[in-house]
Symmetry: C2
Subunit: 229 residues, 2 copies
Amino acid sequence: MLTQNAIPTGFTRRAANNLPAREQISDCSLTNSINLMGATVPYSRNAEIFGENEPADYVYKVVAGAVRTYKVLADGRRQIRAFYLPGDVFGLEANDTHTFSAEAIGDAKILVVKRSALMALATRENQVACELWSMTGQELRRVQDHILVLIKNAKERVVGFLLEMAERVPSGNHIDLPMSRQDIGDYLGLTMETVSRTLADLESGASIELASARRIVLHDRGALGRLNG
Amino acid sequence: MLTQNAIPTGFTRRAANNLPAREQISDCSLTNSINLMGATVPYSRNAEIFGENEPADYVYKVVAGAVRTYKVLADGRRQIRAFYLPGDVFGLEANDTHTFSAEAIGDAKILVVKRSALMALATRENQVACELWSMTGQELRRVQDHILVLIKNAKERVVGFLLEMAERVPSGNHIDLPMSRQDIGDYLGLTMETVSRTLADLESGASIELASARRIVLHDRGALGRLNG
DNA sequence: CGTACCATTGACGACGGTCAAAAAACGTGG
DNA sequence: CCACGTTTTTTGACCGTCGTCAATGGTACG
């Protein structure tokens, strides 16, 4: 859980200097701006990217690998908020402080952008301000959908998770999960034992096949969809 | 669940005409703008304010009464997303469509503002755009806190709810709940029987007192805080 | 005063958590 | 490439919490 990768010395200045002048920006979309303004930083497995209550000085975009954001309750229970995959932006806060922590799940490459640079751009470009808002709105929807998951039973939760992952990483009929059973459990509000048992149950029902622990083949999406409540 | 109050004829035009010229706005805060630009509409008990998937043409602010926003799952289960009390703004979407439905819990008065007017104002006033974003950010935090509640046990959920309500309506040591046990259950992901039993349990532990079904006196906030996990 | 609606209480069972152990997968170094 | 230790996953047995179904009690409102 400790920070294994610090932001490289001089990164801050470099990122600020990379801020393009207005006329350099051909497409003013937020995604493009982030790509232009950022520096790619490698994080190793389980490295902390930022912690809860830290100032939200940077915005992040997954280049390679996967990231989990989470909160830890007083008694040690961990609630995973979201998994971010390549192309996803995370750590963007409407206020100045992070409301959760973020870690690399496996080794990962993360594009890091100074938030102040984005904000400055948003002040000049209405389009960017609008996209920042929209992005927070997207995040809001994701979290709201997540709430829906948490009122379902174990089977529905696991199926919902599988379908969500299948949609986010369209790689034919199988999913390669970057995260452990424990991670999935903490995301779904279940124990890892229940996740494991539910997957075994789905396999015995011929809906899926556990090719390996981390590779799941979806055999019957229709049946899965029906199980999804 | 049917709409018992339609938005009065001519409301749309009136709201648009109320849009003040830039120099008329003394304090450009969003709250102020909403108050100036809106029209107050009465809704009766259980009246639908807007429905899921409807276009989000208006933004709402509770003047009197209380509002619940919710989703209904395919099998009829209802998930209440939030309760809104006087002063709270709801129905603000970053995108164009409502992601849930909203109903008045009891008779209520709601300030209704055209979203397009707000958006136009935001385009001219950076401050307003920033506040719109910040408001969605607030909502995001509320929903994230709600997720934390849903991984706790029944007692912790009910206690959390009581403390949240006590904080939002600071009226000494008691809470007057506008909503039914069923509403609370659907908000906490519990049945109304479990809510009722948990409240009875807390009362027998002398932490609270059920003065009436809807009025709850908090006797020992320290003990409640400890129960909150 | 009667009729809904809402809240409470009880009995019982299922689902998922807990604890423990075995099995499988993974990485490392010989 | 194999042997070994570690981590992850699976499986089993048992139990507690909360949901379900049903009956009773309370409250508000016409």
